[in-house]
Structure formats: C-alpha cells, structure tokens
C-alpha cells in the first residue's frame, strides 16, 4: 500500500502542464528518433541531455523529457523495420523478421498498430514490475558497504561485455579505456592532478556528456560519410500503410504472446548487462519455439512474430530501469545514458535515491505511465505522420544532428576545447566501431570510474590497507562469483547467440539499445 501512495504522490508531481507537455514532446521526438535509421534511443537521449541541462529544466522535468524520449524511441524503432526491413535501432531487429513480410502482404498498417499495442503492453506491465521490484532491490542494496559496491561495479562491467560484443577481450578493453578516461583530472581524495599533462582544461576531468555525445552522435555522422549514404531509404511509393486497426481475432490470437514476451523481456532487462536487444531476441525465439517449432508461419508474416519482439523489447526497456534506479548501475547502453542525466543533475542513483529524492523517483515512474498512454495514443492514429519521417534523407538529417550536438555541448561549457575533445571522441567512436569494440562499456567506465575508485579506496582505508577486505563478506563473494560467471559464460556460448542476433544486423542499425 505504501508503494501505491508513493505512486499517487508521483502522479501529483508529474501531472503539471509543463511536465505533461514535456512528456508529449519527448514521446514525439523519441518516436521520430527511433524511427530514423542511425538515431537510436542512446543517440537520441545523448543529444538531448545537454539541451535539457542548458535549458535549466529541473531534475524531475529533465528526467520526464528524457525518459519519454527513451520509451518513445523504443516504440519508434519498429516503424522502419516493418515498412522498409531496416531496423531503426538494434532492439527492432527482430521485428523485421515478421513485420516486413506482413507489410509485403499489404498488412503494414495492421502490423504497425499491432506492434504499437504490443509495445504498450510490454512497457505498461514492465513499469508495474519496476514499481514492485525496485524497492525490494533497494532493501538488499542498503546492506552494501564500499567493498560490495566495488564488486557490484566490477559485476556491471564484466557482464556488460557478454551481450554487447562478440569478443570479451574487446569489451574488457572498452571498459578499461572508459575507466582510464575517468581517471583524468584532479584526484578527489588527495588533490593531486592525474594524466592532465599540464593542460588546465583537463583538471576538471573529461565531461562525460562530451564523451557520450561524441561517441554516439558524431561517430554516426562519420559512419554515414564513410558510406556516402545520403539518400533517404524510403520514397513515397514504398510507404503504403493500408488498414490501420488490427482485427479483433488478431488481437485475441496475440494476447498470450504479448503476456509471455512481456515477462521474458522484463527479466532480460533486469539482468545486468542485458538490454532491450536481448529482450526482443529472447521473446522472439521463445515464442517461435513454443507456437511454431517447425517454422511454418514465423518469418513469413505471422502477427505473433511481430507482437513478441515488440512486447519483449519494451518490457526490457522498463526492466533495465530497475538496476539503474535501485543500484545506480545501469544494465544497458541507454540506461547508461540516463544515468549520465542523473549524474549531471547532481543526483546519485542508488538505494538512497528512494529515500532522499522520492519526488524524482516516483515522479519519473508516474511519467513513464503517462508517456505510455501518450505513445499509444500517438502511435496508432498518427503512425502515418511518423512514416513520412522516413523520407527525410540523411544528407540533410546528419548535419542537423552534428550541429545540434555542438550546440548542446557548447551551451554547457561555452568552451571550444570541449568541442574539439568531442570531435576527438567522434573519430575514436568511428574507429572503435569499425574494430567492433563496444562503446557502451566506455561510457559506463567514464560514468562510474570515479565512484568505483572511491569505493575501492574507502573499503581498503576502512580496513587499514588490507586488500583482502574486498572479498571478506558473503555478499561481496556472491557478487564476485556472479561477475566471474557472467564473464565466462559468454566465452562459451556467447558467440553463437550473438551470431544469431547479428545475422540480420544492418549496417545502419544503431550501435546499442
């Protein structure tokens, strides 16, 4: 009951005109960003963070805007999957498998509205899951001391690689690179400068927003330049939507699918290191194995094959918020970016967030519900408008993306130095993506590096310089065990699963969920 009254308070916070308008704007922008190939949820949120920040929005308002973008992008990714067989972002990859065949049969409108409905079901119930699971996790997290937190951070890095890359060495490299970047600047505990090479601009450290926008948004611009891909992937002739409402029988047929996929997707989202991509993959494969083991209808335009991955990826998007809010350790790329939002607003997520900033947490959760209904309302009748977005050619879109990124970063610091660092990160992101090095661990490293080091040093200082204190409590040992298992398992089975997931990967698919 306690939870429900907190939720009611949350609605009281979220239901102001300003916040509702922000949620609506976020949903709209998010859907567009999700729909456009090359601009996934991570990029979308990354570009908007500095803007929300420089516009002087409060913590709750910024979070409402940006999580609406996050949810909206999860909805939007399916549009180009279904109409063009090009996933708008990585989690929407699986939707191509049955969505595009449905569109070819002239049922594009039905596929779009059915997937909109499935997205709604997934996200709606996952938000309820978040409400009930997060406070339980907080209770466990309150038992954590510095040593356990250090182990938890290590766990986040070690498990993240399993899903985000085919090569564990490369994800370890990425994590170390990110942590190393976080070390630049004045050491918070002793006040000595580290890795600054006498450059005054570096004394404050590298702003993680600069790193995020450079790695995600600018590297995308370079990818498009390299491929000389300037023409729109759609023209008016290709987009035929047709009847918009799915028949009742189709909804009835897919209801059990949606429920099963929501549960699976949510669980996949909560797991550290997994994200929406894994959620949609698991939901689709499980559904296929269950209802169509011989492969008669799946892959040929089965509505259940559209409902399953969409419910799965939206449920996973909700699930991924659980560890991010309760522990302060994000489980996926986009939640890492959302963590950056919180940190730049001077809010430290984690167990104390629920007791110290209940207005932020519950306002955010209420906003998720509001965003969900808005997205359902926006997506089913207005899907025609969003399909028009696909006709914007990247040669116009990409310069706009680049310039908006510059505007946002310049707005924060007003320094040309930061802009040049951002270009550097953009080039680095481009090279690393070529080398198949995942970018998410780098972001996570720059975000969590200092907190991780502080916990390490605090734990050891408390125990008078005894390093064994790190594996002294059962809780810490448990976390380390999970971390090691999470690192080793992908070495054995990971390549196979990833190969399946990426079998249909499109060059233009976004880099992460």
């Amino acid at each position: 009951m306690d939870t429900l009254s907190s939720l009611a308070d949350g609605f009281a916070i979220a239901l102001t005109w300003q916040n509702i308008l922000l949620a609506l704007l976020g949903c709209f922008l998010g859907t567009i960003m999700g729909a456009l190939p090359g601009l996934g949820p991570s990029n979308g949120v990354a570009i908007l963070i500095p803007l929300a920040f420089t516009l002087g929005l409060g913590p709750t308002a910024s979070l409402i805007l940006l999580t609406s973008v996050y949810y909206g992008a999860m909805y939007g990714g399916r549009i180009s999957s279904i109409l063009l067989n090009i996933p708008g972002d990585e989690p929407a990859m699986m939707t191509c498998l049955d969505g595009y065949p449905m569109a070819q049969k002239g049922m594009a409108g039905q596929a779009l509205s059915l997937s909109g409905l499935a997205s709604f079901v997934g996200a709606f119930f996952a938000t309820w899951g978040l409400i009930f699971l997060a406070p339980q996790l907080v209770k466990i997290a309150l038992l954590f001391g510095p040593a356990e937190y250090f182990a938890l951070f290590a766990l986040a890095f070690m498990t993240l690689g399993g899903v985000s890359s085919t090569n564990q060495a490369k994800s370890a490299f990425a994590a170390a690179l990110g942590l190393g970047l976080a070390m630049i600047g004045v050491d918070t505990q002793t006040g000595v400068p580290r890795f600054t090479f006498g450059e005054v601009h570096l004394y404050d450290g590298i702003d993680f927003l600069v790193a995020i926008v450079g790695l995600f948004a600018l590297s995308e611009v370079f990818i498009f330049l390299e491929n000389r891909h300037g023409e729109a992937s759609a023209d008016a002739a290709k987009i035929k939507v047709g009847r918009l409402t799915p028949p009742m029988s189709m909804i009835k047929q897919t209801t059990p699918t949606m429920i099963r996929s929501t549960i699976l997707g949510f669980l996949a989202g909560v797991l550290p290191g997994a994200g929406a991509s894994l959620g949609s993959f698991i939901a689709y494969s499980f559904e296929k194995r269950l209802v169509d083991p011989e492969g008669k209808t799946f892959g040929k335009g089965d509505p259940r094959g559209v409902a399953a991955p969409e419910a799965g990826n939206n449920a996973a998007a909700g699930g991924a918020l659980v560890p991010m809010l309760a522990l302060g350790v994000p489980g996926s790329g986009t939640t890492a970016v959302l963590l950056a939002v919180l940190l730049s607003l001077n809010i430290t997520p984690g167990p104390l967030l629920f007791s110290q900033n209940p207005d932020v947490v519950w306002g955010l959760i209420a906003a998720l519900f509001i965003a969900n209904f808005m997205l359902l309302a926006l997506n089913i009748p207005m899907v025609g408008i969003f399909t028009r977005v696909l006709m914007v050619p990247p040669r116009i879109l990409m310069p706009v993306v680049a310039m908006v990124s510059f505007v946002g970063i310049y707005g924060i610091s007003g320094s040309s130095f930061d802009l040049m660092v951002m270009v550097g990160f953009g080039l680095m992101g481009w090279v690393l993506r070529k080398l198949d090095v995942p970018l998410v661990p780098i972001i996570l490293g720059t975000l969590l590096g200092n907190a991780m080091e502080n916990n390490l040093r605090r734990a050891i200082t408390i125990d008078n310089g005894n390093w064994w204190t790190l594996i002294d409590s059962p809780l810490a040992i448990g976390l380390w065990t999970i971390a090691i298992i999470g690192f080793v398992i992908p070495l054995i089975v990971g390549r196979r699963v990833k190969a399946q997931m990426h079998a249909r990967r499109d060059e233009e698919g976004s880099l992460s969920d």
Binding site: L51, T54, L55, T166, N167, A169, K170, A172, F173, A176, L177, G180, M183, D187, Q189, T190, G191, V192, R194, F195, L218, V221, F222, F224, L225, E226, R228, H229, G230, E231, P394, R395, I396, M398, P399, V400, A402, M403, V404, F406, V407, Y410, G411, G414, S416, L419, M420, V423, G426, L427, W430, K434, L435, D436, M452, L456, R457, I460, T461, G465
Partner: protein
C-alpha cells in the same frame, strides 16, 4: 591483421598509461591506497585485453578506400575548425559553413547544400535561441 595492429597499439597505450600513473605525485597526506593503485589496475586490464586481441584477432573489418578515409578525416577537420571559429565568427555564420559542407559531402547538390546550410543554421538559431533562450556563440555581428 587489423586486430593485431589494434592490439599492439592498445598495449602501447597501456604501457603509456602505466608510466603516466607512476609519475603521479604522491601527496604527503594520502589514504592507504593512494592515487596510483587504481590506474595501475586499469593499465593491467588494458594491457591484458590488448594482448589477447593481438594474439587472437577477429576477422578484419572492411576498411573504406583511401578516398573515403580522407572524407572522414576532412569532416573531422571541418568540425575542429568549426569549434575554433565558432566564438570568432558567431553561431549563424560558422554553422552555415559547417552544415553546408557536411550535406555537400553526403551528396547534396550546390543549391541544396546552400539551402540546407541556411536552413540548419537559421532553424537551430530560431528554435534554440529565440524560442528556448539558449545562449549560442555570438560573433562580431551580434549573432
């Protein structure tokens, strides 16, 4: 082959990082761990993973032809110049040139590039500066 080079570069980076960590000045008031230990741990992980990458390389990616590589670096140079000229020339002028260049390289025609440049720079100026009140770089002309 790409991964072997990448691994060696990573290894050099790790060694450089470790050396830089060793030169960090210890403060006379330090905690039990000090400012060097964690960077050294990171350097170790960086070095080990680079070594593994070099010893067990993946297949090489498709590198673009030289012309396209030049294309990417030229765009980066334009962006760096944009960063330099932004405070000097002001937002509208600098953004016009940068976005016109990018859209031209992505395949717009001459007129299209100029139009996109003007549209992007004025559009962002109107939305972010006039409507939302974000402060953008001011040039000598006041915009």
């Amino acid at each position: 082959m790409t991964d072997r080079i990448f691994g060696v570069v990573g290894l050099l980076l790790a060694i450089g990082f470790a050396l830089a960590a060793l030169t960090i000045q210890e403060s006379f008031l330090s905690d039990a761990v000090g400012p060097k230990a964690f960077p050294l741990i990171i350097a170790t992980i960086l070095g080990l993973s680079s070594a593994v990458i070099a010893l067990r390389p993946d297949e090489s990616p498709q590198w673009p032809a030289l012309g396209l590589l030049v294309e990417v670096f030229a765009a980066a140079v334009v962006m760096v110049m944009y960063a330099q000229f932004l405070p000097v020339a002001g937002f509208i002028i600098a953004t016009f040139f940068a976005s016109a260049y990018l859209t031209w390289r992505l395949g717009s025609g001459l007129v299209g590039s100029l139009m996109t440049g003007v549209g992007t720079s004025l559009g962002i100026y109107i939305v972010f500066h006039l409507v939302l009140g974000l402060s953008l770089a001011r040039g000598p002309l006041g915009f």
